[in-house]
Each structure stands twice: as C-alpha cells, then as structure tokens.
Chain length 441, copies 2
Amino acid sequence: MSQPKEQKPNNLLEKIVSLAKRRGFIFPGSEIYGGLANSWDYGPLGVQLKKNIKDLWWSKFVERREDVVGIDAAIFMNPKVWEASGHVSEFSDPLVECKKCHQRFREDQIKGLCPDCGGKEFTEAKRFNLMFPVRLGPTEDSSSITYLRGEIAQAMFVNFKNVLDTTRVRLPFGIASQGMAFRNEITPGNFIFRTREFDLMELEYFVHESEWEKWFEYWRGQMREWLQDLGVDLKNIHEVEIPDGERAHYSKRTIDFEYDYPFGQKELYGLAYRTDFDLKNHMEKSGQDLSYTDPETGEKFVPHVVEPTFGLSRSVFVALLEAYHEEGDRVVLKLPPKLAPYKAAVFPLVANKPELVSKAREIYQSLVASRYSPGPIAWDDRGNIGKRYYSQDEIGTPYCVTVDYQTLEDGTVTVRDRDTAKQERIKIIELENFIEEKIKT
Amino acid sequence: MSQPKEQKPNNLLEKIVSLAKRRGFIFPGSEIYGGLANSWDYGPLGVQLKKNIKDLWWSKFVERREDVVGIDAAIFMNPKVWEASGHVSEFSDPLVECKKCHQRFREDQIKGLCPDCGGKEFTEAKRFNLMFPVRLGPTEDSSSITYLRGEIAQAMFVNFKNVLDTTRVRLPFGIASQGMAFRNEITPGNFIFRTREFDLMELEYFVHESEWEKWFEYWRGQMREWLQDLGVDLKNIHEVEIPDGERAHYSKRTIDFEYDYPFGQKELYGLAYRTDFDLKNHMEKSGQDLSYTDPETGEKFVPHVVEPTFGLSRSVFVALLEAYHEEGDRVVLKLPPKLAPYKAAVFPLVANKPELVSKAREIYQSLVASRYSPGPIAWDDRGNIGKRYYSQDEIGTPYCVTVDYQTLEDGTVTVRDRDTAKQERIKIIELENFIEEKIKT
C-alpha cells in the first residue's frame, strides 16, 4: 500500500477542536449550561493523554534523576508568601473601562474603539491584580484572606529549608512540582492555550551564583530534549530572548520557548533565571535562614535559581497539533506511542464468529492484565476492519491487533502499525513484549 | 536473626507526624511563615507515596476496567451547576457567634462556654455555606461569581452526555475522576484528616434503577479490596450505615467506611446511592436530555448512580498508620512494596573502596534507567550498613541492595528484605527482574 502524501490542513485549529470534542479528548467546560468562558474538561482520551505527559515528565525530571526531588504543596498558602514574592503588588495588568458599556479591557488591546459596543471614551488605566482572593474560615476580618496560588514556584522556595533538612541533596539540585495555578486573566482564549486555571510542571534548580549561566544552558538543552519526547519538531519552536523591561519582576534573564500555533507564534514554555530574588525575599520577610552551606568549602550563601516552566495543557495542545496528520482521507494522530491514550486495540476479524471473538477477548484481557500496565487497551468489534483502523488512527492508537482465521490455526495475529499502515504477523505469546518494546520508545 | 515482637505505640499520631516531618513525607504548609492553619505540603517522599496511591487507583478502577472511563474537569464550573446540585442552598453548617469575642463556631461543638474566651452567650445559629466563592474576570457584577468546586462528582454528571456521545460505554458503566475539591470547613484538623482543600478519587457508576442494590454491594466489595491493596487490615474498618436524616441531601443510602484513627473512629471513605437526583436536576435546570436508551430493549430512562468516594490524603494517612511498626528499636514502614516511595536502595558496603563504589553506582544507574520505570531508587554510602538499613526501613524501602567484596568475585549482591530483615544473594543480572516481581505484588 503506497503512502499518500502528508499534509497539514489550513484550518488546523478548527480540526483539532472538532476532533477533541468528537472523540472525547477535550470538551467545553460546563457545556450543558452553555459553558463557562474558556474552561475545558478533559474527556476519556484527553485525561489519558494528559496523564501520560505528566507521568513522563515526572519520570524524566524527578524519578530518574538523582539531583531532583519532588514536592506537592497546598494551593492555599499563607498570604505573606504572596507579599514576599511580589505577587500582591506586582502581578497585575493595566485595565481601562469603556465609559459607555462599562466593560473592562486590557489597555494594550484597545485600538480606539470598545470591542463590545464601539464606544470611544475610556477611563484612565488602573492596575488589576491577577490573583484570586479567597476568604478562609467563617470570620470576616481581612486576616483570613489568602489567594489561589498564581504560580507553583513559591511552594518550592518556601519548602527549600525543609527539603535541605530532610533529604541529602547538595547543590546543584532541583525541587520539582506539578500542580494547578490560577490567574484572573483578562483575555483568556484560543482553546486550551490560555485559561484561568492551568496545570504547571516546574523545576526550581538551585545553583551557586557563579554557575547560573552554565545551568541555564543545560536546562535549555533539557527543554529541547523534552519537546522531542513530546513529538515536537524543533523547527516549530522559537527560543526568544525576553528583553529588559519585559521580563517578570523576579527575572534577570528569560527565554520563552515559543511555538507556531495556528493563531501565531506564542509562548509555550519559559526558562527564567530568577537569581536569589525569591529566597532572599522570603529570608527577609520570614526571618528564617534560607542560605546553604557548601559541605566541602564551608562557604555559606543564598543559592540562585534557574527555573524551567512547562505548561501541561499547552503540552497536550502542542502534542495534538504536532501529531495531527491527514493522509488522503485518513486522519492520523502520530503521537509518540508512549503518550497515546490507548496502547493497542484488539479486534476479532468479524463479530459474528464466536471462536474469533472469544480468542480476541482472551488476548484483550491478557494485555489489560499484563504486569507492566501499559495503559488502557481498546476493544472494537463493530463494522469492518478498515473502519476500525480509521477510528483508531484518529485517536493515535499505535497498534491494532486482529484475530482472524489463521490465528485459530497457528497462534499468530496481525499487528498493524498506525504510522505506516503496514501489517505483520506476530505470535500471540510474543505480543505483550512486542508492544512493550514499541511503546517504551 | 530473631524478630522482636511487633507493637503499635500509644502515641502513634505524634510519631507519624514527627516521622512525616523528619523524613520529608509531609510538612506543615507555609511553615517558614508560621504556617497556615491545617494546610500541609507533601515533601519528596510524601509526593511519591501519594502519586503511587493515585496511580494504583487509576490503574485498578479505570485503565484495567472496560466499564469505566476517566475525565478531568475544570475546577471553575458554571455556577448554575452548583444551584442545580443543591450545593448553593444545602451545603452549609449551622454557626453561632460568641457575643464576647465574636469568634464563630459550629453549633454542635459548643458545650456551654466559648472554647476561645469562655464566654457564655451566643447568637442564634446561622447557616454558613461551605462553598468558596470566586469572582472571575474584571467585572464587578454578581454574574461573574462562581465557586471552587465542593465535590468532583458534578463534573461527571455534567459530562454524562459528552461521555455517552463520544465513547461506546453501555450501562452499567462508570465515569471516574481524581482531583481537588474545596470546602470552607469550620473545624479542619487532625493532621491531614480534614483540610479545606483535598484530593478526591471518585466514581459515578451509572445503573438501571432496578439494579442499584446489586451494584451497591459490588462496589462495597471493591472498596474492601482496595483497602487491602493499600495495606489496611479490614479489622480496623467499620462499615457504618448512615441513618435517615443524617445523609447528604442527594443520597438515599450511604455507608461510611470508618477507620480507627488514633483520635477515634472516623470517616475514611463513603459509598452513596445518589439515585437519579443529580442527572434529573441537571436535566431540569439545563434543559438538556440526560437520559439513556438501552440499545437492546429500547427503554429510555435516567440512570441511577452508585458512588464510591475515596479521599486521597486520607488514603496516604491510613497507609502510613497501618504501615508503621516498631520492632525493638527499629521503626519499619511496612508499606505494600508497590506504594513505597523508593523501590530499592543501593549501597556500596563501604564508601572508601572505589571498586565497590563504582560497581554499586553501575547497578544503581541501571536500575534507575530500567525500562519499566519502577519508581525512584535510593543511593546511600554514609555510615555503616546497619544505619543505612534502619534509615531505609523507616521510609518503607522494600529492598536494600549491597555491593560487597564477593560482588567483585562472583557478580552477586545481597538483597535485604525490609519486613523480615533477611538477606539473600542474587545475581546482578537477575536483580531487575527480582525487584520487578516483588514490587508488582
């Protein structure tokens, strides 16, 4: 079978949103109530894809590294954390209000006319803080107000001393975390690109000041490697140096990893040199000693921080965009096999031959129960085999296993490869290892 | 070596809290700022234990089952969801205020005197809603107010139709989810037992009304099985039937799985028969058809729901309580091996023999890189071997691998078992399989 030429469609975003909805990757949030602007729910396939990305990241950057440990901190933190970090005073957008319809907009998005009513007069810009305030407990005094965390990084700084005291880490080392952050964004949008709640995966890598540039370059390389793990072609990535005056208040150097989304080149990940800004501020405000003493030289100092930040939803988004291919009338999600929601699908050639069905069920069940838990396995006995292949291609299942008449004679099945559409016969007893070997890559 | 008799200490809670802090399982939240009442951060070991429990649950109840699919929904939902679910009107505690110090308390906790100032006069009880309101976006009208979700169940009801439309599920089937919920509890406390933010793992299992009792019993059995997976002795579990008038507003039958905590018998998990309460309310309030048509009989009906709920933090808590053992002066966390933070530890017998250290490093690195990613591996070359064993016992590492002089001669290592403290010699080439086989149980 010759391969039709691959092509990326022009209306890629619409196709991804439509596929995501139709096959159960991503649904509009609260959809039966008309939705809630820019909220999204992950469906049965989306939740697996997201979990696979999250687990791969954790395995690569925490479990398989000796110099990184993980933490998972509470979303509610003492509000003093957000005063020390600068978020209460600095973390804001300038907003103007239309004098006619009283809607508010980010100043840089107004081109003379109100986007809602066409009004031409606006108030002076006011700073609008992006932190969500929350009142804890039943009292009404202001001391009970805290914030939903606007980033997950602070928990790693606040726990720096606890980690030093309870583990055997030595500089350079990292603290990693995965979790939700919340920002009251004025202009969320573009599918799952920008939402008010979002999952972050992040490392704070603590180094001696004299070595920050070396580690900055090291993590830049690690981020590129991760992008390739995710199936991203690096030609779609632009490493953009953020100039003075445009960086976050804590950063002395930042590189944005920007991606060519269908709606333009925008941020995907970030790599920031946060200096000793956070640890120093927390030392000053908390009165605790957050310095580090080198066990060999005896030098005592406040470590500097290199911070690679990865958005999880954006990782899912980009993995889908990169994986989407049309080949003739076939839609294929060429996800890296280890990220695919289903690791394999098992079919009986036809559904009305009990001996084929029962043999296929047996294989299906043994794969589901297999000791290394390769993730869920799909079952399909509807329609013809060609339709089943197309259905699995569209959701990225790397291998389809078909039980046919020959199976009953010689104990082999056909295994069809998603990307090449080629089939080969494999012995049933070798099937589990065959799939394991393939999906680890 | 004979085994000293096992015993559970009297002050078990203090010992668990202390161990959790000392070894990096669980730290008080925002600790350098004096904490934030009843918030807790998971440290390097705690985050692994929690992840292992979470992943095991997902594998058991979603990935390895054909009749359950997962979702992962936004925390911010349309506020109409919480009106339809009854949370806005019903989800509250009665509060009284001390007229002297103006502190507020749950009515059932006042025994004549204010616990804070000793005052004797209180206001009439007022209902205090446990949902956290949050204002989305920069506008100030009330239409922009929603809530942090008070349970994760609603997302599964709201997405019921999306799941039906995009997957091939047929009744009975379940939708599962893991995620954060938030309740403005008046009296949180008892370590990680009750906090204002908490991780839930939950299934909504949709059935025909005529079969709810059968499935209620089925899931009761599954919950017992899960408790055993977690290492819980079922003699410490009490299945308590919640009588009329004490159940949540949506439930027609509830069994609480209560556990013998050091502070008394209290709720661990819950199993509720929610009837068709939620789907019916959402149908009525949203105007969408959330019924199900049986593909064989053609009967159209609103499914009923059996809901097993598992608290993740409480699972971590109970796993620690059950695992904690003192044997003479040895503290051992007898966690099920697949839940242990480290799967194995590797030691050179002594740290000052380069050939032992380099051989041990080689083994350590090959285990870390092993294809099935059995979780992190510890390395230790401090002090004497006995101290290292004690250190690993205390954090539940099931196997300690020691490289000694014999290793250099015959390619074997000693593998010491945490629970029996017995050692056996294993060939290096068989080590990976040996550990894999053990930790899958």
